[in-house]
């Protein structure tokens, strides 16, 4: 009922930048421009411009924080330079890394999704069952339905958590798999 009266269409640019900052700050997950536009009753373009402005402000004043585009949304995070200090305060250690087998399996899934277990085996030349289980447990991959072929094998793809944990805007931000060809060719 109060939607129309609560919104302030005559928000100035600096006001918008400020309120966008507030929303990104409180959001638990990267918040999309679309969602902010809905909440603030503003154009998506205006939101995007405000985010860009905000991002620039952080960079210009060499803030300890940064505005990052992650998994299709925006996020406030600390700058990498301060990881030692932050970690000292939080008393955390870098979490356990994925094994080589898990990383390889994840790479195949990320580039070939949706992909079945036999297709992963074809590329890696080795069974990947335990790696797939690890990746499912860590919610980096999700089942994406069955392939309509013999045996109807389950297909897998990467999750939103994958984008968040690997700091990616979206899948298109991954370098093209063909870019790795030079590396492969230069093996002699």
């Amino acid at each position: 009922m109060s939607e129309a009266t609560a919104s302030q269409p005559a928000r100035g640019t600096s006001d918008l930048v400020a309120v966008v900052e507030a929303l990104i700050f409180v959001a638990d997950e990267p918040i999309t421009a679309k969602l902010m536009a809905e909440v603030l009753d503003e154009d998506r373009q205006a939101i995007e411009a405000a985010v860009d402005q905000l991002k620039l402000e952080y960079e210009n004043r060499e803030s300890g924080l940064q505005i990052r585009e992650i998994a299709g949304g925006w996020q406030i995070a600390t700058r990498t330079e301060f990881h030692e200090e932050v970690r000292k305060f939080l008393k955390t250690r870098p979490s356990a890394k994925l094994s080589l087998a898990s990383l390889e399996t994840l790479a195949v899934i990320a580039y070939k999704q949706p992909v079945t277990v036999p297709e992963i085996l074809e590329i890696r030349g080795v069974q990947s069952a335990s790696a797939i289980k690890t990746l499912l447990d860590k919610r980096l991959i999700v089942a994406k339905g069955r392939k309509e072929t013999v045996g109807r094998p389950m297909q897998y793809g990467t999750s939103k958590d994958f984008l968040i944990q690997f700091g990616l805007k979206d899948l298109s931000e991954l370098p093209s798999i063909e870019d790795f060809e030079d590396l492969a060719g230069g093996l002699s």
Binding site: F25, V26, D28, R68, Q75, I76, A77, T78, R79, T80, H83, V86, L90, P94, S95, K97, L98, L100, A101, L103, E104, L106, A107, V108, A110, Y111, L121, I123, R124, G125, V126, Q127, Q165, F166, G167, L168, L174, P175, I177, E178, F180, E181, L183, A184, G185, L187, S188
Partner: protein
């Protein structure tokens, strides 16, 4: 292109012996753990031999590969079936390469049926994903240096925060209504105290000289009463001039005034 391959080759899957010395096996055992699969091992061996991936010295690489599998077995590492599949592929390619070439095909183009081609394609394909895995590793390393704020308690993560005093009152009334019956029952339960029970028991013994505990306990209506009655019996035996008599094992116990 293909050098003359030496014929010295034999491999028997059942005749595995620990032929590698302790020193070198220690050194190699660390390396074995790092291989993500047979293709990975193969790439490593090719690099080790400083060979060209497009012109793999198949005999040398096959020997090296089989040596690794033997080593893995001698170290009691379960050799995954996938490694054995690759071994057989290598042996197959090797034997194909030993066959004399068809001079007609040679005239057309020698690359036409290189038995190694399929393997090379797979290796190149695999190598791309191996590099991609490396890239992911770097990304996650960078990502671990970035921190976001902890979760804020919001209405969603903590629903109770949304309740007003009236909500609490309503809920409280509901709870009271639901427990109304039980409350009544509890008042009813106050039936007899231990002191009353002892008094009652004493009175009955003095009236009738002796009392069957079986009948006494049977008069009780609830577990709680029964427990009280039992404690009363113990108490009365301790404090009063009464004794317990049991005529036969597992028979009734009689409480008798002395």
């Amino acid at each position: 292109m293909s050098q003359p391959e030496p014929e010295t080759y034999s491999f028997d899957f059942h005749k595995e012996t620990a032929e590698i010395t302790v020193k070198s096996s220690d050194e190699l055992s660390i390396k074995i753990g790092e291989f993500a699969g047979p293709l990975d091992l193969l790439l490593y061996l090719i690099r080790q031999e400083q060979a060209n991936i497009f012109d793999i010295p198949i005999a040398r690489i096959t020997d090296e590969y089989l040596r690794f599998i033997r080593l893995m077995k001698s170290l009691d590492i379960a050799v995954a079936a996938d490694f054995l599949v690759m071994a057989s592929t290598l042996i197959e390619i090797k034997s194909k390469m030993l066959l004399p070439r068809d001079p007609n095909v040679d005239a057309l183009g020698e690359e036409m049926d290189d038995p190694r081609q399929e393997l090379v394609d797979r290796l190149l394909e695999y190598e791309k994903y191996k590099s991609a895995a490396q890239m992911l590793y770097e990304k996650t390393t960078v990502e671990q240096a970035v921190f976001v704020r902890g979760k804020i308690e919001s209405d969603e993560s903590n629903a109770e925060i949304d309740a007003s005093v009236f909500d609490l009152l309503t809920v409280f009334q509901k709870i009271v209504a639901r427990h109304a019956d039980e409350v009544k029952l509890e008042i009813h339960r106050e039936e007899i105290s231990l002191a009353d029970m002892i008094k009652d028991l004493k009175r009955r013994i003095f009236e009738s000289e002796e009392l069957s505990l079986l009948t006494f306990f049977e008069e009780m209506h609830s577990k709680r009463e029964l427990v009280t009655a039992f404690i009363a019996v113990l108490e009365i035996v301790r404090t009063e001039a009464v004794k317990l008599i049991q005529k036969k094992t597992f028979g009734d116990v009689i409480l008798r005034r002395i």
